[in-house]
Assembly symmetry: C2
Homo-oligomer: 323 residues x 2
């Protein structure tokens, strides 16, 4: 997942249906943005178009396999998970007052908090409208559960902010809610309209989603900024306690005594990142994520070789992205 | 709708099923708040519990009629529309930085913008989860269309802010999106699980929803503050152009020349409200709303007498609330 080339390779490996569906996805997302008049066309449209790696739709397509039973349903599911993901990004940017995302002005920067909040709400609503048109209540249940989990994860993160005594278990529960459950839903939804195994593929998605979040949190500490496009230690400045700090507090008396509220500047956050890295826990955190990816691959059900290979490539891609 | 007594009278008039369903609604909303752990229990729970008149659930129950075909589905629909309504209130309060709603601290005041934004997102998600469990894709389509319309109405309001040249038609389109469509969905959803006539009852809901918004906008100009619990002219301070100003600009050269951005203080807004009232247009705006309510009643389909009488009472209640 490190580059556009790597994604292209993944798309190829998934079989001929994947590039075709990825293309249809872009067309449909574009139509959707255009169908809501100038206001949505401008703001949500920019958000959707700015794109990103479309990792969640890719999971839907790969989980569906090469000959999905219900291709239109699979496509709708991919659109819906991407819209939910986009909605949360728009709302996150409002809260963070972020100026740029993926190199483009955020909705909040371009149009203000009110427009951005409403844009996020609209993207949420359109996600459900999209799935409702596919007519499968089971699919809508999966999406609404994942989307509830996402919001609960966000609530938990804010509730636990500045609390350095957060346990590893509670941290993992938060990552599960805010990241892994939408990965799980993507895979389950794909399986539902495809070759089956919703339970097993859902579990696969959940595990790589958890690994994805862990590695993202490690990267926020390890940097360097050139790779991530942002400064190290943004989580610390936000009061968000992640696995590296949780582990490092067991190794370092200074870090155990740290009051996060005293970390107020990028330079101070950078220094804490150095101390965490020096405590030697980053490799351990990475190893935990890698073990999750290995478990995800081991747990894959009895799939056709090409489908299995493509899913394994995505799992490895999650790791490579942060290598 | 002027008082708790008036609502109680409505509930009575609707038949024995209405108080029973209203009670079940409260129990279920309470369970829902409690089922999401301490964080949701605290914030979304407070929002849901703070209640309000439950006008939209009441419409669901009355549209369903005395012997709903699918009582559980009707109840789920009522919960879902109330959750969508609550979600938008929570997000509105974030944008307005409102301290109180219905006399209680808002989520944003109690817990900050981040928690409040996530709480709103969670309420949205739970609304769809609730309806998904009833298993009717048609119902989910109705809700997601209404919820999309709501966000689009909000976007339109912000896009048109400070523009005094907004036409009556565009104003009505905005009111339709941000208010009437959820009233419509409430009635359609009730009809769907009840005695039928979804089109006609949906149209009834849409018309009284539009009247509701018009009268609310008149009240913001007419005051007095003792009745509305807020100062006159909050819409003006917000840059929101509503029917009274649109009509008054045709009557008064001064108002036609007004630059809304120059209206910066509650006292200045109060003075503009006086000028609008003095132009004599408030009665005309009220008359337009009353005509919509009359149309709504005339357009009611061939229902049992008790059901029709109850729906007519709600329609009149919308008017009385602002009388």
């Amino acid at each position: 997942m490190a580059s556009a080339e790597a994604v292209a390779a993944l798309v190829e490996a998934g079989g001929a249906h994947v590039p075709r569906l990825m293309e249809r996805l872009e067309v449909r997302l574009g139509e959707l943005a255009a169908s809501h008049g100038d206001v949505l066309g401008e703001h949500a449209g920019a958000t959707i178009a700015a794109g990103g790696k479309r990792l969640r739709p890719l999971l839907v397509f790969l989980a569906a396999g090469p000959e999905p039973r219900d291709e239109e349903g699979v496509l709708r599911a991919a659109i819906a998970v991407e819209l939910i993901h986009s909605a949360t990004l728009v709302h996150d940017d409002v809260l963070d007052g972020a100026a740029l995302r993926r190199g483009r002005p955020t909705v909040v920067a371009a149009a203000g908090r009110a427009m951005a909040t409403a844009t996020g709400d609209l993207l949420f609503s359109r996600a459900f409208a999209e799935l409702a048109r596919s007519g499968d209540p089971e699919a809508i249940r999966m999406l609404s559960d994942a989307s509830s989990a996402l919001a609960e994860g966000e609530l938990m993160q804010r509730a636990d902010a500045w609390d350095v005594a957060v346990t590893r278990e509670r941290y993992l529960a938060r990552c599960d809610l805010k990241t892994a459950r939408l990965f799980e839903a993507a895979c389950r939804l794909g399986a539902l309209g495809g070759a089956g195994f919703p339970e097993e593929l859902g579990e696969f998605g959940r595990r790589i989603g958890l690994a994805f979040q862990l590695l993202d949190d490690v990267l926020d500490v390890s940097g360097p900024a050139e790779r991530t496009g942002k400064h190290r230690g943004t989580d610390l400045l936000d009061g968000t306690v992640t696995l590296p700090l949780i582990l490092a507090r067991e190794e370092s008396v200074e870090l155990a005594r740290l009051d996060l509220r005293s970390v107020r500047t990028p330079a101070a956050a950078e220094a804490v990142c150095e101390a965490i890295a020096a405590s030697g826990v980053l490799d351990e955190a990475r190893a935990q994520a890698l073990a999750m990816v290995a478990d995800a691959k081991t747990g894959l059900p009895d799939l056709a070789d090409a489908q299995r290979a493509a899913l394994e490539l995505v799992a490895d891609g999650v790791v490579d992205r942060f290598a």
